[in-house]
Symmetry: C2
Subunit: 244 residues, 2 copies
Amino acid sequence: MNFILNTRIKCSECPIRHRAVCSRCDEDELAELEAIKNYRTFAPGDTILWRGDELQYVGSVVKGVATLGKTLEDGRTQMVGLLLPSDFIGRPGRSQVDFDITAVNEVTLCCFDRAPFEKMLHSVPHLSQRLIEIAMDELDAAREWMLLLGRKTAREKMATFIEMLASRQQIEGLSELPTDLALPLTRDEIANFLGLTLETVSRQLSQLKKEGVLEFSGRRQFTVLDYAALHDATGDDSDGGPII
Amino acid sequence: MNFILNTRIKCSECPIRHRAVCSRCDEDELAELEAIKNYRTFAPGDTILWRGDELQYVGSVVKGVATLGKTLEDGRTQMVGLLLPSDFIGRPGRSQVDFDITAVNEVTLCCFDRAPFEKMLHSVPHLSQRLIEIAMDELDAAREWMLLLGRKTAREKMATFIEMLASRQQIEGLSELPTDLALPLTRDEIANFLGLTLETVSRQLSQLKKEGVLEFSGRRQFTVLDYAALHDATGDDSDGGPII
DNA sequence: GCCCAACCTTGACCCAGATCAATTCACATG
DNA sequence: CATGTGAATTGATCTGGGTCAAGGTTGGGC
């Protein structure tokens, strides 16, 4: 599962390289983007957008973690997207949204107002190309996730999730995966991500700890002692993850 | 779950309105598309594309049914996409594919070669807009499917699948859902779609038959006697399906 | 440095759906 | 119209993960 892109550029003030803008934009185009740029901040637990509401902007997560969640009639929920810093948020050509977007912790978004952004899309062809690529990557991630939800065991789900976290927390350009990782979500939220219950998540983490694959230094902070064993537990092909 | 789009136009020879071309294309643009158009046919069971192969074209399904499938190391598989007539196939800006595409029965594709199509994308902005919309719709469908795989019971999965089939076999422009439906897949393939086993699929269908919701007139041909009961069984909000 | 509430862990038990195992059915073929 | 075959049904049994319940941790706030 790979939400990261190779080609991202840094916004003048944003601390991150992000996906909403394109590495091929020239000075004028970047200035145009700057002009319609603004920041929004949300408190932990805030609903950034309710299902059915109009999304008035597109943009990127600069800081914090947000989730996309869907709910059944009786209240069962499934997370269908996880937004980490640099991830794109927005639906050009579609205003309404069929899921809730919720801030897990304090979230800062770097936004571009929808109307001018879409106008710009029409005049700057490579921005459209960029968005198509982003959408194709998200579709790949969604399909990887469908395989996880439909066919993987609790243990495989957990291992896959940790491997994904590691690749997202990897320092750019470095080939080594980081050994010290932070869990951005509670057990309950992880369960929601993986289609499990919080008890099962807890048991799987305990099991991986007992086997010496992970070592915890706090509830949400841990070290991966054995990446090979972790990957073996994912059930994925040994060649290591999706192609993309 | 909704794979259908409102705006589709009919190709000169294709018997269907399809998604690869845009309703806003003018005569010249359509002529340009016609020039790079060609048809491909696949026999039942044929693999249209293997994981990792290059997809040399984009296009639409004209006839037949195809599936996108992903496989784990030990052979477990999950269907991650179902291609029915009018569905778009292709990954502009991405050549490789991270899943297998398989023909369920005899499949005819209306294809546009990738290189000229992508060149045209750059010069015709509204074609890019169109593709972004298609990708957003597929992302919505994928997320709906994730909710199904992660949280629905076998019964809810089955009911949702039948409801989706009905909406796909609905006659365009008609508000009524068709009562007589054909299953385009075997029990095994349905199981693969829903993250179940073929035995469970069979049992759920028998149950719905026993309850008088469905009536079978052959193994793959049936009538929906009670759409209300069917919808109740989906677990979805009563307002009826995704917004889009 | 104590407190408390949210978060997490662990155990006991249960059940939906998987697995294993026979039949039975639909229908294409000669 | 018999007949062979892959597809489907149905039953018996098993089990992974859900559910219910009872403590533990931990870290922020005062």
